[in-house]
Structures are given as structure tokens and as C-alpha cells.
């Protein structure tokens, strides 16, 4: 029971991070129908940007307040990652709209390889670890010599995730931008005819996706304290699994899928073996795609003939 509760706490934290990345996959898929293979690497780049900013803020500017430092890191990481994703869309995906159907996916794979190797070359292949900080925990209960604790970091992850999801939810449901996005999802040509700037809407979608990935990247860096150039691939695949599991194209689905994947992963590690942890993740991906391609909250998709 104690183990279960502890893993529940850990799983929700991890799941929040996956959910934030998964939203990026789902939004981009919704609007231009492509699997943005490079999104996991955008997340990894954002974690590196956060790392640089963190070092800048703490060692150069000497800001000691955790809250202020975190806020600055978050904002800077969101800004620069957005710029990166905006540029990626302009350079690698936009010219391919209307090309043959696998072209954007192949371009995205190329971009993913490029990004991870760029970071490897630019920042070195070694794992970067930040000094431990903010390590206080709150012990919730203890029994059988096992403490169930929730760390401050975890609370921060939950609060930041929840706050940003609220803002994000407001943007996509209540603003003109959100309406334009949904219109483009339904029918891009029609949306264009009705005076919606499709290019701009797609760009903004990529920017939002990147901003959320940057939040995830910052949280990842803070929570685990380490990041390496190779950290885009597996979290990316897991977040994509989350998006598919929740129902690709569905925003609540992405969050739900993220939480599920996070929970499955932590529970699996606790009760089975960590060796096959990634096998489990990949198997869930394959099984979902084969048997439940519309996901939990997605609509069944009748192929238009």
C-alpha cells in the first residue's frame, strides 16, 4: 500500500511531464496531420536551454530565490524553444505541405537526428547534472518502515503543470486563435477561404507546442537534475504513446494518456522489473496503435474515400 501510494505520487509527476509533451504531438497532428517526430528532441533542447539559463541565473546573476530563478528559467526556456520550433516548422515542414505523404515525417526524422546530434556536438556527449537543490520532502505517512513522501519538487511540477494547462485550455477554447486552430483542423482549404491565415495558425500551434515542451523540459531538469543529448528519443516516444493512448487529436486525451503512461511506468518499475520498463512502453505503443488506434478519448476515424 505504501509502495503503491508512493508510486502513485511519482507516477503523476512523471505523467505530468509526459502529458505536456504529448499535447505538442496531439496539437500538431490535429492541425497538419503529421507525426512531429522531432518533438521529443525539441523537448530535450528545451531542457538544455533551461540548463544554460539556470546556470546563468544562479552562478552569474547570483539570484538565490528559488521561485524567481525558476520563473526566469521557465520564461526564457519557453521563449527560446518556441523560436526553435517556429524555425523548424518554417524550414523543414512548411515547404512540404502538399508534397507526397511521407515527406513531412521523413523530414521530421531528419530534424530529430539533426537536433540530438547538434546538441551532442555543441554541448558534448556527457550527461549534465546540476547540483542538488530544493530537496525537502513532506512525509505523508509511514508504515512498515517505509515513508511515503512527496517532495517539494513534485509539488512544484504539479502546480506549474496545472497552471499552464489552465492557461493553455483557456487559449484553445476561448480565444479567436483557438477557433482558428479548430477550423484548420476541420478543413484547411475552407478555413483559408473564410479568411483564416492558415500559415500563421500552424506557426502558432508549433510555438504553443514548443512552449509546453519547454515547461516539460524545465520540470524534467529540475526533477531529475540531469539531462543529456540522448534524452529526447525515449521520452519523446513515451509522450507520443501517451498522445495515441489518449486519442490523438484530443487535448484532454493527451493529458490523460500522459498520466496513464507515467503511472504504468512507475508501477511497472516498482512491481516488475526496471529492465523491461522501456519494452513495456514500446509494447503499449504498438498494442494501442494496433487495437485501439483511436485511443481512449479520440473519435473513431472513418477513412474518407
Amino acid at each position: 500500500m505504501e509502495v503503491f501510494t508512493q508510486q502513485l505520487i511519482n507516477g503523476i509527476t512523471l505523467g505530468s511531464i509526459y502529458g505536456l509533451i504529448a499535447i505538442g504531438y496531439t496539437m500538431v497532428f490535429g492541425i497538419i496531420g503529421m507525426v512531429n517526430f522531432a518533438h521529443g528532441d525539441v523537448f530535450m533542447v528545451s531542457a538544455f536551454i533551461a540548463l544554460v539559463t539556470l546556470l546563468l541565473v544562479t552562478t552569474w546573476l547570483g539570484i538565490g530565490s528559488f521561485v524567481i530563478a525558476l520563473l526566469i528559467v521557465l520564461i526564457v526556456a519557453m521563449l527560446f524553444t518556441s523560436l526553435v520550433n517556429w524555425a523548424i516548422e518554417r524550414v523543414a515542414y512548411r515547404p512540404l505541405r502538399g508534397s507526397f505523404r511521407l515527406a513531412p515525417l521523413i523530414s521530421a526524422i531528419g530534424m530529430s537526428i539533426f537536433l540530438s546530434n547538434f546538441v551532442q556536438v555543441a554541448q558534448g556527449p556527457r550527461v549534465k547534472s546540476i547540483p542538488p537543490f530544493f530537496n525537502e520532502v513532506i512525509v505523508l505517512m509511514s508504515g512498515n518502515g517505509y515513508d511515503v513522501a512527496v517532495s517539494y519538487k513534485q509539488i512544484v511540477v504539479w502546480i506549474v503543470t496545472a497552471a499552464l494547462l489552465l492557461v493553455f485550455w483557456f487559449v484553445v477554447t476561448k480565444t479567436a486563435l483557438g477557433r482558428a486552430q479548430r477550423a484548420c483542423e476541420q478543413d484547411q482549404k475552407m478555413a483559408a477561404l473564410l479568411g483564416i491565415d492558415v500559415d500563421r495558425t500552424v506557426s502558432i500551434t508549433f510555438v504553443i507546442a514548443a512552449a509546453l515542451a519547454a515547461v516539460a523540459g524545465t520540470m524534467y531538469l529540475m526533477y531529475y537534475g540531469v539531462v543529456s543529448f540522448a534524452d529526447g528519443f525515449v521520452p519523446g516516444v513515451k509522450a507520443f504513446t501517451a498522445a495515441v493512448l489518449g486519442g490523438i487529436g484530443s487535448l484532454p486525451g493527451a493529458v490523460l494518456g500522459g498520466l496513464l503512461i507515467g503511472l504504468i511506468e512507475t508501477m511497472w518499475s516498482a512491481y516488475f522489473s526496471t529492465d523491461y520498463k522501456d519494452v513495456a512502453a514500446f509494447s503499449i505503443l504498438a498494442i494501442t496503435m494496433i487495437f485501439l488506434p483511436q485511443g481512449i478519448l479520440g473519435r473513431p476515424d472513418v477513412e474518407k474515400v
Binding site: R299, V302, V305
Partner: protein
């Protein structure tokens, strides 16, 4: 767009096939067909029959559900409800229809007659076994392959058989070479028919639009269909090409054992070449009958032929 708000027109619709002489057995019977996409009712309790050897037209305004009917017939969509039966060979096999329906299998044979329940079959078997061929509203050619190759792909199943599922063909057996030659001969026949012989070795995507439409029909005919379903074959053609198309379809009907089911917006073409017309609106049948009957049916005029008046006016301006 509300689909269910049109029940008034449907209530007055004639029962299926009441206006037709019953001396000829139908090739296709669609009964109580319904198709829903989530909340949207695209087709609602739609029934009609197409007689063997006829050109049967399915008309109706945009969004009426015509293409959806085609997709149900050809197995691309699984209908929500209804029965779609297709028969060839000895018409006596129609008597097995209710037995077949109850048995839950796909088809039944009696003598040389075969009866299929298409809604139970996957799309490729509808084409392969029940021999229903189709074209698409937005032309679907193998654009990068040559015109000839398009017609050979259409004969895939017989060629696969002849190539011993690739094994014999890979060994370079004479019998396969012969089969391929006769496949090319059949392709040549249809190329001659459609006037595409000169372009046989060009990529299909490089044909002019009218040529692509004709090629798509030729490709469908290369499967030796019992029923040919054409989705707006005259769309995008000029009046001359449309007239040619009409003659071409007549020839197919007269010279081959192929019945034709046609979706078309061009009323001149429809009125001229169809033997029988079914009018669909908002997913429901509002009328069926011979071209003359349809022309004078007030319901059709109200629901649909208003479009034709505009079309006629456009024509008049165009020819000035």
C-alpha cells in the same frame, strides 16, 4: 446542415421500384440502407434496385449522400444498417436471398448464378469476387505509373494467378509470358476505346484531365466488372467531352455484360443516357423513375432541378 429535418419529402417517396417493369431481374438491390457518421445521418433507410444491362443514375444535390452510397456498395464503408445484394449469372439465385441473409455468410451459388451480400465483404473482395468496379469523384490513378501499367494493375488477380503467385513468373515461365501478353492485349483494347493508345507509355498523371477520367473508367473495365459504379465521371469535362462520355458509356452497356451505376450532376448527360434515375436528397430517396418521369416529378423539381435551371442559364451564357 440538418439531415433529419427533411422527413416530409421522404414520407412521400415512392416504394422502391414501383414504376419499373419487372420482367428483368435486378443486378443490385439496396434495401433499407442507413449510414451514420457519429451523429450525422448521411443515408437514411434508402432502397433502390438497378436492373441488369441498365444505366441507372443516382442524382441529388451536393452532400445528399450519393458517394456514401457508393462507398457502402463497394465495401469501403460498413453500412450502419441495411442489405446490399448483387447477383450475376442465373437470376434464379435471387430466391436464395433470405436464406443467405439468415445464414450469415457472404455469398451463395446456384448453377452458374452467384449472389453476394456486399455489406458483409471487405472492399477488395467486393471488387475481386462480386466484380463491382468503381471510379472516384476525385480521380485516383496511379499517377507515377504509366497508362499501360495502370491497366495491368487492374488485372492483378488474374495475372497473379498466372504468375503462380510470383514463383512461376520469377522463374520466367512461358505460360506467364503468354498471360501477360493477353493482359496487354486487353489493355490495348481499352486504350483504343478511350483514345489513349498514343499515351500508353506516359505517366498517368501527365494526361489531361479528360484523359485521366477516361483512363479511370478503362482501368475499372479491365477488371471485367458486372457492375460499374461511376462517381461523377463528367465532372470537369467540357460539353464535347461529356457527349463523348455518354456515347462511350452506351457502348459499354451495349457491348459488354456490364451494368452501370452512375452519379452525375450534369443533367444533360443524365437525362440522355440513363435508363432509370434514383433521386437522393439529404440521405433519403425522394423519387425514382425513367428520365421522363423524373423530369416532370414536382418533388424532384422542387428539391433538385432548380439547380438545372441555373445550369441551363449558364450554358446559354457560355455559348453566346
Amino acid at each position: 446542415m440538418s439531415v433529419t429535418s427533411y422527413d416530409a419529402a421522404a414520407a412521400g417517396a415512392r416504394p422502391s421500384g414501383s414504376a419499373r417493369p419487372s420482367n428483368l431481374a435486378p443486378v443490385l438491390r439496396v434495401e433499407h440502407l442507413s449510414m451514420r457518421f457519429g451523429g450525422l445521418v448521411a443515408i437514411n433507410d434508402f432502397s433502390f434496385a438497378a436492373r441488369r444491362g441498365d444505366i441507372t443514375a443516382l442524382i441529388g444535390p451536393n452532400g445528399a449522400g450519393k458517394t456514401t452510397v457508393f462507398n457502402c456498395i463497394t465495401g469501403f464503408y460498413k453500412p450502419s444498417e441495411g442489405r446490399i445484394a448483387l447477383q450475376f449469372g442465373d437470376p434464379g439465385v435471387w430466391e436464395e436471398l433470405s436464406a443467405l441473409t439468415e445464414r450469415g455468410t457472404r455469398s451463395v451459388t446456384r448453377g452458374d448464378g452467384m449472389l453476394f451480400l456486399l455489406e458483409r465483404m471487405p472492399d477488395y473482395l467486393v471488387a475481386h469476387r462480386a466484380r463491382v468496379a468503381r471510379t472516384f469523384q476525385n480521380i485516383r490513378l496511379f499517377q507515377g505509373m504509366t497508362v499501360l501499367e495502370n491497366l495491368l494493375v487492374a488485372q492483378h488477380n488474374s495475372l497473379m494467378w498466372a504468375s503462380g503467385f510470383t514463383v512461376l513468373g520469377a522463374l520466367g515461365l512461358r505460360s506467364y509470358a503468354r498471360a501477360e501478353r493477353s493482359a496487354i492485349d486487353k489493355a490495348r483494347y481499352w486504350l483504343d476505346r478511350t483514345g489513349l493508345t498514343d499515351r500508353a507509355d506516359d505517366p498517368a498523371g501527365e494526361l489531361p484531365y479528360g484523359g485521366q477520367r477516361r483512363l479511370e473508367i478503362a482501368r475499372a473495365m479491365c477488371t471485367d466488372p458486372v457492375l460499374l459504379c461511376l462517381d461523377e465521371p463528367a465532372a470537369g469535362l467540357n460539353p464535347n467531352e461529356s457527349a463523348d462520355l455518354g456515347r462511350y458509356l452506351h457502348k459499354i452497356r451495349d457491348e459488354h455484360a456490364t451494368s452501370i451505376l452512375l452519379i452525375e450532376h450534369d443533367m444533360t448527360v443524365v437525362m440522355e443516357i440513363s435508363d432509370y434515375i434514383v433521386v437522393l436528397d439529404h440521405g433519403q430517396k425522394i423519387a425514382d423513375g425513367t428520365p421522363d418521369e423524373i423530369r416532370n416529378d414536382p418533388r424532384v423539381i422542387a428539391a433538385y432541378l432548380g439547380v438545372e435551371e441555373e445550369e441551363v442559364a449558364e450554358r446559354a451564357i457560355g455559348t453566346q
